[in-house]
Symmetry: C2
Subunit: 559 residues, 2 copies
């Protein structure tokens, strides 16, 4: 089979203005083109659609993934292509890839095989400049903070308390911990600082939860960058930074429209981390999709304990959006992994391990149906090494849970490979839901109570413990009036516990909270359990060394 | 009079595809649109025009400026509009603004008054993403350097010798001097480091001297990032970084087309500093303009001792381009400043000071004609406080030098205000030049000899002295085989000397070289005289606090 970039480069793309008009009814004058195959949809036009009824929302999530991932994006694209191919007005809503992993280890993030969004190189590199705009706005605020302190510090900011970091869209471990403002008094007051990758920034989370330009400016103004020496929160508004930051994000806030290899429309917009942030593409894009198409297929990050939980408890809570059905991506490989098989041995048939690993998928299915109250189907994303017996066993095991499972081969076969899945999704959408959509916890529960609700109801944890420092921070956050916010748990995606090596469905374990951070602009409190990497590093042999530019302008080596 | 942004926001822009086809004969299919009013011109199309004859090149330069500047960009736009209005096929080639000054003190850099390029907010913020792409490529190389060292340092890079800095497009003094890679062994090897603003990067200079994608990759490969412990230069090619960096710049390399307020075409592409780098917009844009139009009007940075010198000795030397006439922008204000009047008093009529300040302009005119061998005219850029007597005196003083001077009011009146100037330029282009174009020095002169040639022939200096460290560095650079490169003098723009307070035309002074830097990819050796700021800071009351986003998406407060 051809590589992802070979497939993408061989594709004949349609002009995006034709895709926009024919699939979504958007006239060319409402598009802001970025080349001939990417466009933003004018926000003023989108605002004019406010009275339109909303389409139905399909959330793609997964069981706890293995390190190589289970193909959530690929399934989102394949399912969109299948629904599109069956004649249903459908749009995919995906996250934008970060350039960090592109030049590091993971490669691109625009789907894979014959389920990709294109133009693949553009989407993976720069795209329409959203991440650069976010970095510029983020770093302007950082510069304004140090500048304020340098010029007399009228607000009396305690530089030891500044939590607002600078960001870059590159994997650069050397920037994780730095000391800035060295070199004497003309360079300001030295302090410890650090850089995060753009996708880990609070500004990215804000961007993805924003509903309008005015809302964007308000949320940015609410950002707490640190504290005064009297321990009063200092906001971006206090620094007069929010107007300029919002101006820098004006264009970026409009959703980016591209196409799948099969010509279905796709919004690719925003991309926050799913640990430190909520891991979903933008509300702007989801809502635009729901107004423009009958069906929106969107994905949430990591497994359903993280991505889907945050989709429900953060994105849905804040936006009022509601998923109509969840597609849970499962793979034979991941089930065997949760059944105790080592990563290197996942290519070998092992029915016993598949059965044992079902505990992981089962808990996710229970959470989605019983806690979030969303009906679901399972997509069994088939890999070449999977045997027919294994696939059949997964379908049976899922059926025993009262859920329909559909093997899918969209990676190799495009939309046609996900047609059964698409029909299953349509059937689930047609059936009355036996569940009632619900949040995991109510707003008025204490922050501690919210974390406990997630830990016990979703993770199977027995208790939540707190570092003393984290507990103090929580108390301060509540005292400052942020206790009504939802929480955003940052933990490993590989396990229901905080230990990435504990596969399956652990129970009664301890969820230890190491750190608490306030994302006042985004409107949630981050609860960090375990080590969270917010600035990745490059591997010994990074993809960057294989990516190349041919003399005719062709980009080579992206994967 | 309205503010710059009020004028720009009130302008009715034509679709850029119409401007491109009607003024430059570029078909829509050869444009890569960025919205409806900005486009890149496809590089493959531009390469196909290689056989076309070149138009004529008008270089806009200036006397030594005052801190507020003399209106070089405004004059370039006004002259372009005037030539366009007179029915001549003309395109302006300008530098892209940096966002640093936009949010700091200086404001935007897209001309001013009724001589602007538009869309003004877009050009000043993000534009087509070129600076973001340059930052991404620059910072990928930085990450690859520290990553190489972290993973065993096979090349034996001496981290103390790494000269490749990270960059951001923001004024942030806290990033000038930092220590990176703190926090223990997982974060790499701590070292002293610093950030420059994007426009000060070698990559920006490379970008602006590049002729094709292949040339771009080759030049990037030549970058010397530091030395091994055995003092051997380490290049970006040694690190395998050049292919990925070139890929990141693929799209950016195509020139950006916009329009003036009067509908003339303008390429706005690249923008290196005029001290640490050569200060000219891209060769790609200039050459494209010369193939597509009869006349190209372009500007060089700072005064003619810096910008025009580098235009001649670096850009022309490397590209083979030749200016046909120079327009030297002078103002009554600057002449009075060089005649000894304090900045605060420049609004008061003072004929004696104008006469005394003529020494500065006279030396520039001599240099341009006698050293560079370029015929010239003077544009007297009129300010509201200038009196008719002062203006008339300048015209007479310039005439006494054998040069025609044309008062111009394009800031207030648009192209009509520069019509006399335009006719003067056309007349100069029609006359046979009495001069022979020449470089200030030959390639085979030693680096020391090159600096001495510039210092004595152009600056009127009596001698060149060197810090011992700078001298050692120069010796090493010559020993490593870079002695044949041109030099790029980084000194203050306010004086022919290295002391910004020495106005007029000092003679016999000492040019002291404090530091020498190799820009092997750009292909020049930077000779730093005096303090050079490669990362500006924000003022106490930055423009950022006045820039705002209205609820309807209008950006306010740019100047």
């Amino acid at each position: 089979m051809l590589s992802d970039i070979e497939i993408a480069n061989a594709a004949v793309l349609r002009p995006i203005k034709d895709v926009a008009s024919e699939t979504l009814g958007i006239e060319e004058r409402h598009l802001v083109p970025y080349g001939h195959h990417k466009a933003k949809v004018d926000l003023t036009h989108l605002a004019s659609l406010a009275d339109r009824p909303l389409g139905r929302l399909v959330l793609v999530t997964a069981l706890s993934p293995t390190p190589p991932g289970e193909g959530k994006t690929t399934t989102t694209v394949g399912l969109t292509d299948a629904l599109h191919g069956l004649g249903h007005s459908t749009v995919a809503c995906l996250r934008e890839p970060s350039m960090g992993p592109v030049f590091g280890m993971k490669g691109g993030a625009a789907g894979g095989g014959y389920s990709q969004v294109v133009p693949m190189t553009d989407i993976n590199l720069h795209f329409t400049g959203d991440f650069a705009a976010l970095a510029a706005a983020n770093n302007l605020l950082a510069a304004l903070i140090d500048n304020h302190v340098h010029h007399g510090n009228e607000l009396d900011i305690d530089v030891r308390s500044v939590t607002w970091k600078r960001v870059l869209d590159v994997n650069d471990r050397a920037l994780r911990e730095v000391v800035v403002a060295l070199g004497g008094h003309v360079n300001g007051f030295p302090r410890e600082d650090g850089f995060d990758i753009v996708v880990a920034s609070e500004l990215m989370a804000i961007f993805c939860l924003t509903e309008s330009w005015a809302d964007l400016k308000r949320r940015i103004g609410d950002i707490v960058i640190g504290y005064t020496r009297a321990m009063k929160p200092v906001t971006a508004r206090d620094l007069g930074a929010h107007g300029a930051m919002a101006a820098l994000l004006r264009d970026a806030l409009a959703p980016n429209l591209v196409q799948t290899l099969e010509g279905a429309p796709a919004f690719v917009h925003g991309g926050p981390f799913a640990n430190i942030a909520h891991g979903c593409s933008s509300v702007m894009a989801t809502r635009a999709g729901l107004r423009l198409a009958d069906l929106v297929v969107t994905e949430a990050g990591f497994g359903a304990d993280l991505g889907a939980e945050k989709f429900v408890d953060i994105k849905c809570r804040k936006s009022g959006l509601r998923p109509d059905v969840a597609v849970v991506v499962a793979t034979v490989r991941a089930l065997k992994y949760h059944g105790g098989v080592a990563l290197a041995d996942l290519g070998t048939e092992d029915i016993g391990a598949v059965e044992a690993g079902m505990v992981n998928l089962r808990r996710h299915l229970d959470n989605i149906r019983e806690v979030y109250g969303i009906p679901c189907v399972v997509a069994v994303n088939r890999f070449p090494s999977d045997t027919d017996t294994e696939i059949a066993r997964v379908v049976d095991l899922v059926a025993a849970e009262g859920v329909r499972a559909y093997p899918a081969t969209h990676f190799a076969d495009g939309g046609l490979g996900a047609q059964d899945l698409a029909k299953g999704v349509l059937q689930a959408l047609d059936e009355p839901s036996p569940y009632t959509f619900s949040f995991t916890y109510d707003d008025d529960l204490s922050l501690t109570g919210k974390v406990e609700a997630i830990a016990t109801r979703l993770y199977g944890a027995g208790l939540v413990t707190w570092d003393a420092k984290a507990r103090r921070r929580l108390t301060r956050i509540e005292r400052d009036g942020y206790g009504g916010l939802p929480v955003c748990v940052a933990k490993t995606q590989y396990s229901f516990s905080t230990d990435p090596t504990v596969v399956g469905a652990p129970s009664g374990h301890e969820l230890h909270v190491r750190e608490v951070r306030l994302s006042a602009g985004a409107g949630f409190v981050v609860v960090v359990c375990g080590d969270m990497m917010t600035m990745p590093g490059l591997p010994r042999d990074p993809s960057a060394s294989r990516i190349d530019l041919a003399d005719d302008g062709t980009i080579l080596g992206l994967s």
